[in-house]
């Protein structure tokens, strides 16, 4: 119990600088579960299909999920601070349409990317302003803007498709940004990397460093853990939330540009349903929907697991609907595992 403290007698006990680590806690940590899952995915897939471990196949697989994964990085930060952006896929569509029209007007590839980023940023800023200025719940606001942005795209485009893009733009999406390079040494080579995956890798690294190593990152954790106490501690809560919505919009615009370049054409139904795939990546990555908990490493691993599971199953001609069942089951299983162990431990202790 508490003993009245005598001044000048403060060093009667020691407080450790770091928390003692227990092996079991480490083994049950989310990131470790994901690493195990990742290895399992590779092993199972490569046993089932001889085509799985082909570098070109893997490289192509990455481009199927990298655009979503880029958006997932922004979504992870939003969910971390107890917000969400469900309009991301609709922003992809709006940005992609803007790019399509700009391309028809003969704009350069660089300008097309700028158009995508700009439209994304505007949409994100609109979301952020509604959420922070009018104090509306972000889930409501972004369900609204999801309809709004997608609806705008449908009204303007109708059933028309935009499909004339400069070759330089299409090359960015359809060829490897880094080509396959042999080094001359057996088993040592630089694999082919599509631009979208490279962008994701670089962004993941930057996001990881910002979230886990900087003052702003710490402030985001504080907001997610207790927004009131964070505000009382001088954290600019609403300004940061606003910026995150802007960032999420911009990443969606960037993903829209990459996706448009890869597909070489766009219709108003582009990227339909992506928002839930993206939220799935973030949740599987261990970001708590209640806020305050999560890591970029977790999201990175979840993206790879989900991408490779999907790719592996597609290689074996498993239809999309079945893949979706599998991924749903996987998500539920993975988020239940820590809880099941907790229960088990409590049950053992109580016996």
């Amino acid at each position: 119990m508490n003993v009245p403290v005598q001044p000048g007698q403060q060093d009667r006990y020691t407080v450790l600088d770091t928390a003692p680590r227990r092996l079991r806690d480490f083994l049950l940590s989310w990131d470790v579960i994901l690493v195990i899952l990742f290895v399992l995915t590779i092993v199972v897939n490569s046993l089932v299909s001889p085509y799985f471990l082909d570098v070109y196949n893997l490289a192509d697989a990455t481009s199927n999920f990298s655009e979503k994964a880029i958006i997932a990085l922004g979504m992870a930060l939003l969910i971390l601070v107890r917000d969400i952006d469900l309009s991301v896929a609709a922003i992809v569509a709006l940005a992609s349409m803007g790019i399509g029209y700009a391309a028809e007007a003969g704009w350069s590839p660089t300008m097309l990317f700028a158009v995508g980023l700009g439209i994304g940023l505007l949409c994100g800023v609109f979301n952020g302003a509604l959420v922070t200025r009018f104090r509306l719940p972000s889930i409501v606001v972004t369900i609204g803007t999801m309809s709004l942005f997608r609806g705008l795209t449908q009204v303007i485009l109708g059933d028309q498709a935009l499909r004339s893009y400069p070759q330089g733009f299409l090359d960015l999406g359809q060829s490897y940004f880094i080509p396959m390079t042999e080094t001359g040494i057996p088993w040592l080579f630089i694999p082919p990397v599509p631009l979208s995956f490279l962008v994701f890798l670089v962004l993941a690294l930057i996001f990881g460093i910002v979230l886990h190593r900087t003052a702003v990152g710490r402030q985001l954790f504080a907001i997610g853990s207790n927004p009131v106490a964070a505000r009382f501690s001088g954290v600019p809560v609403n300004r940061l939330r606003f910026l995150l919505f802007g960032l999420s919009g911009m990443l969606s615009g960037l993903a829209g540009a990459l996706l448009t370049a890869r597909l070489g054409s766009m219709r108003s139904n582009i990227a339909v349903g992506w928002e839930l795939d993206i939220v799935t990546m973030v949740i599987l990555g261990g970001v708590s929907i209640a806020g305050g908990v999560g890591s970029i490493l977790g999201v990175f691993l979840a993206v790879l697991v989900l991408g490779l599971v999907t790719f592996g199953m597609a290689l074996n001609n498993i239809p999309g609907q079945v893949i979706s069942v599998y991924i749903g089951a996987l998500l539920i299983a993975v988020i239940s595992i820590p809880r099941i162990f907790e229960r088990l431990r409590a049950w053992r202790a109580g016996r």
Partner: protein
Amino acid sequence: MSDPVLTLTAVSKSFPGVRALHDVSLSLQSGRVTALIGENGAGKSTIVKILTGIYRPDSGEIHVGGAARHFSSPRDAWAAGIAAIHQETVMFDELTVAENIFMGHMPVAATGGVDWSRMRARAADLLERIDAPIPPGLPLKRLSVAQKHLVEIARALSHEAQVVIMDEPTAALSANEIDDLFRIVEQLKAEGHAVVFISHKFDEIFRIADDFVCLRDGEKVGEGPVASVTEAELVRMMVGRPVDQVFPKRDVPIGDVVLSVEGLSNATEYADISFDLRKGEILGLYGLVGAGRTEAMQGLFGITPTTRGRVTLEGRPLAVASPADAIAAGISYVPEDRQDQGAILSLGIRENVTLASLGQYVRGLFLSRPLEIDETRHLGRRLAVKASSWEQRLAELSGGNQQKVVIAKWLATRPKVIVLDEPTKGIDIGSKAAVHEFIGELAGEGLAVVLISSELPEVMGLADRLIVMKEGRIVEEFQRGRWSAEAIVGAATGARRDAA
């Protein structure tokens, strides 16, 4: 006197580190209003919670109508005929008046469903009995606070309650509404109900109560008919002890004015707050709950907008639009609500301590963990925080240690002025003493301290000067040595000066 409706015999209740009630006995008579009086934290709410089945007493007995009772839930208390009307009404805004009255015991029709027409008719009867012209079918959210109180009274009557507890029922009412309420209290008396009335306002107690029970630090210190005491005597009973010896006051040289506040106001909660604060000075801010102390200090700190007023820090005018501005200028505010506003329970000690001063630990672009740990260790040791490691989550610490971490967070910002809002509320005795000692130490180092406290011994023990607030305004200022507990409480409650 006739047999009491309800008696409490030698009831005690403790929480970790706090003795909330000790050996309290009281009895309630049918047809009489008993006022429960005492300072904040004297144990009034604990009694209400025991009577309504929210807390179970550690020892002691409750008798209702002569029979011993054990309440294990609020339902049991309802069943025994005890109903409470709370300070802030706990009802269902989206439901109708009738549904609120009969929530939990709706009349059942032969079909097994709710008998809506009978429920509405009975609700109308009950409301008529207390002369409250409220349509039973109206949704509760359309009613005023006063009307909601009436609905609660009707709810109490629907349970055939013998004992009606009113916990500061007038706090949010206008003068006319209070008159209406008192008329109903008289009627309840006439019908033979026993009423428990809790209020900080002496005029109301003398107007409506027949008997009083006075509590202090969880013990009963007086009881009797209201007619036999004066306000001055009640105040003395509430305050009671020689306070000056409780906390040894340090002798600190008081320096120049650091902070000067002039005419600080906001739209509703406080007006015209002006004071000067000097280096090394501890300024006490006393008042009842709801006097506007917290609101005024949160305005100063940039949490809520102010409408008027000038703030000068070290001679320079200061515009504070957010807590970040206040922190940058050297003002710190340790909030009253430790769990929600002060501590981030799911983060570790280090992350809490450094949160308000993150810029100090940045090297290049990144936070430096060694620098964070150095600061945490330094402040943590100074405040004698007990923990297994500096990374331990705050949720795992005791309330007292959490509070020390929160104070450490503010000291890490190197403030010139620190506002402590009820810094020892709800923490154990040991930590309390440490916090008191520490407040003195801070002043000794030249910090200017504003101490908001509802505990008279605490402010009287620590403060050099004391400002009393009532209903959003400063009503009185006392210098150390030229005050008395009676005069301070008198100013805060608005008791007549001559009586105090």
